[in-house]
């Protein structure tokens, strides 16, 4: 079931850690590691359990609420979210649901527009990181040998470099940055732990019978990886993507907060940056800095909880605990 047997793993500790020390998915490779002969029924089973796992329901509901808000928000409040249209520093009311900034900007409008860019950064940054992590992990784990050594070295180097500091330096020199550029930066620096995790999984699947069988029947390397190995850890890959998604949102918030986020448009981190920069704290304008933080915490927290819930769904052994 697992690659986490207690072993003298000082050089390649095989326990996978997510961002901020949250250990990721313990039992990843499906038991037996055999391709399921009835994919439809397996999908049905997953859906069946997913809709009955409380964590998944709670997590997905929270994410869905914010996603809907991000989609319909710009319709409710059309126009420029940064326009100076309201009273100065008004507290939340029926007219201004989240109040206004000390310049008279509608915080609700800023909020819903920012949600969109948050999801975009998460999906794009997390997606890029997942693709790089998978590529590196698959190649290193399947090929082994000197390719593995080299890739391992690169992974270790990127892992040790405080990538956020690197992002800061890089972003500081780019005068015009969009959400997409930010997502690219994040994607290119946050893949190492995913690569490590996927490498370990690939490594343990590589010598299973069905992979050997495929190899003996003359299937080429790439086809084995994508036809035999990847499908058997698809749940694991999905969970990795969820964690990378959440991580990318947090990194983006940090970047925005230092003033290195998108130079145009709005984001949740930028809202907090503005709030602190224009003394919302000293003026007691709590409605300025509370909503963006609540949204980030709720979205990322919901992603983590969904992750744990889905782990139970994918992994029958965990279901009753």
């Amino acid at each position: 079931m697992t690659t986490r047997a207690p072993s003298a793993g000082a050089q390649t500790p095989d326990v996978v850690q997510g961002p901020q020390g949250v250990p990721t998915v313990p039992g990843a490779v499906p038991v037996g590691g055999r391709p399921d002969p009835r994919p439809m029924s397996r999908r049905g089973e997953i859906l069946y359990f997913a809709l009955r796992t409380k964590k998944v329901i709670i997590g997905l509901t929270i994410i869905a609420v914010f996603l809907v808000l991000a989609l319909i928000g710009p319709i409710i409040r059309p126009g420029d979210p940064d326009a100076l249209i309201g009273p100065l520093g008004a507290s939340p009311s029926a007219d201004w649901w989240f109040g206004t900034t000390s310049f008279g900007q509608d915080i609700f409008a800023q909020f819903v527009y920012s949600l969109g860019s948050t999801f975009l950064v998460g999906a794009l940054g997390g997606g890029i990181a997942a693709i790089i992590g998978m590529t590196v992990g698959f190649v290193a784990g399947y090929r082994g040998g000197w390719i593995d050594e080299v890739l391992n070295m690169i992974t270790n180097v990127v892992l040790v470099i405080p990538t956020l500091a690197l992002l800061l330096v890089a972003a500081a020199y780019l005068s015009a940055r969009g959400v997409v550029v930010e997502a690219l930066f994040i994607g290119f620096t946050s893949w190492p732990w995913a690569a490590r995790a996927i490498r370990a999984q690939t490594f343990s699947l590589r010598s299973r019978e069905f992979v050997n069988l495929a190899r003996m029947s003359g299937v080429k390397g790439l086809r084995i990886v994508f036809g035999e190995i990847a499908p058997n850890m698809s749940s694991y890959l999905f969970l990795t993507f969820i964690l990378l998604f959440g991580g990318a949102i947090l990194i983006a918030a940090t970047l925005d907060f230092i003033g290195l986020g998108p130079t145009s448009g709005s984001s949740l981190g930028l809202m907090m940056y503005d709030a602190v920069a224009w003394s919302a704290l000293q003026l007691g304008l709590w409605w300025w800095f509370i909503p963006p933080g609540v949204a980030i915490t709720a979205i990322v927290g919901a992603l983590y909880i969904t992750n744990v819930g889905l782990d139970e769904v994918f992994n029958p052994k965990l279901r009753n605990t």
Binding site: S7, P23, V160, A253, L281
Partner: protein
């Protein structure tokens, strides 16, 4: 033993080399010319000839008139002498001394916050793993804490304890009315300014460690050796002790992996509280486009994280007897 640490040191040396090279490359290959922007900021009102002279002057000063490979060698030469150039924004003070005056504040936040949140989080997590009631509290709180952006928790703490309750100051490293002296009053002021930034770093870290430890303990208690011990009739205290020891190892590895994130968290937390550490300096260097200072701070962070990683490696060897055995076995 020597081989193991030799290998580790090699990776760290390579990392530092690559990081420093990236640090050197970025300003030279990014769009835009730092010197031009510097001149356009400082030299307004100059005639075209005057600003051209200024550009030449800065190019000479920063050594940008040499061929690119020579610049790279010069960069390493001065780096090894501890010379990181001069800060433009702080009117020519050496970058190294500017950074050195900020580092103690950052370390005073980071070291206690990292170690305490790790220790307390692991303790809580281990307890939660065997008490349902506690678990029901720890798990949701833990998830919320890990999902919280560092600066937001800092803002909320500053708002609640600084603005509403007015218990702690929310700005600066010590009271602006005091001079740094070695008196109780000054130390008290230092402490009260330290509490909130420390608390926000500590709390965000706590959740992740507690959840990690909880999951790990549950996993270890299901492992064969635990079941075997139970079957033999060992007291559950003993079984838990073994489980805790095994669960500790991944947490130590996790400590090393989380360092980069925590450092970033410390930087933004300092910005919220205007705490006079590296984070505040970093913000100032970004806002003033002080690229030498920015590069210097980056190199310092890299160096700090690498050293911390190495310490964690040593700790791992001390804690896990199997690595020691494996290592002495590996030596011919």
């Amino acid at each position: 033993m020597r081989r193991y640490f030799g290998r580790k040191l090699l990776i760290y040396a390579a990392t530092f080399f690559i990081a420093a090279t990236i640090d050197w490359l970025i300003p030279r290959f990014m769009p835009g010319d730092p010197v031009q922007s510097l001149v356009s900021r400082t030299g307004f009102g100059l005639s075209p000839e005057g600003s051209q002279a200024l550009v030449t002057y800065y190019n000479n000063l920063f050594g940008l008139n040499h061929p690119i490979w020579e610049q790279y060698i010069n960069f390493w030469a001065s780096l090894l002498h501890g010379d990181l150039g001069r800060s433009v924004y702080l009117t020519g003070r050496p970058v190294t001394s500017v950074i050195m005056s900020a580092v103690p504040y950052t370390l005073a936040l980071l070291i206690p916050a990292v170690l305490l949140s790790w220790w307390v989080g692991n303790t809580i997590g281990a307890r939660a793993a065997r008490r349902r009631l506690l678990d029901n509290v720890v798990l949701p709180v833990g998830y919320v804490l890990t999902a919280t952006p560092y600066m937001w928790l800092a803002i909320v703490l500053a708002w609640v304890f600084g603005f509403i309750l007015n218990i702690f100051p929310i700005s600066g490293g010590y009271s602006y009315s005091l001079e740094p002296t070695l008196t109780w009053k000054f130390i008290g002021s230092l402490f009260s300014h330290w509490v909130l930034p420390f608390a926000s770093l500590f709390l965000v870290g706590l959740g992740g460690w507690a959840i990690g430890m909880r999951n790990m303990i549950i996993y270890e208690l299901e492992a064969d050796y635990s079941r075997y011990l139970e079957a033999l009739g060992a007291p559950s205290r003993l079984v838990r002790k073994y489980a805790f020891r095994n669960a500790m190892l991944p947490q130590i590895t996790g400590l090393a992996l989380s360092l980069g994130v925590v450092v970033a968290g410390a930087l933004v937390t300092e910005i919220v509280f205007s705490y006079p550490g590296l984070g505040k300096l970093l913000l100032a260097s970004i806002q003033n486009e002080d690229f030498f200072l920015l590069q210097g701070i980056f190199l310092f962070i890299i160096l700090g994280v690498l050293i911390a990683n190495f310490i964690v490696d040593i700790a791992y060897v001390i804690v896990d007897p199997r690595t020691r055995v494996a290592m002495s076995g590996a030596e011919e």
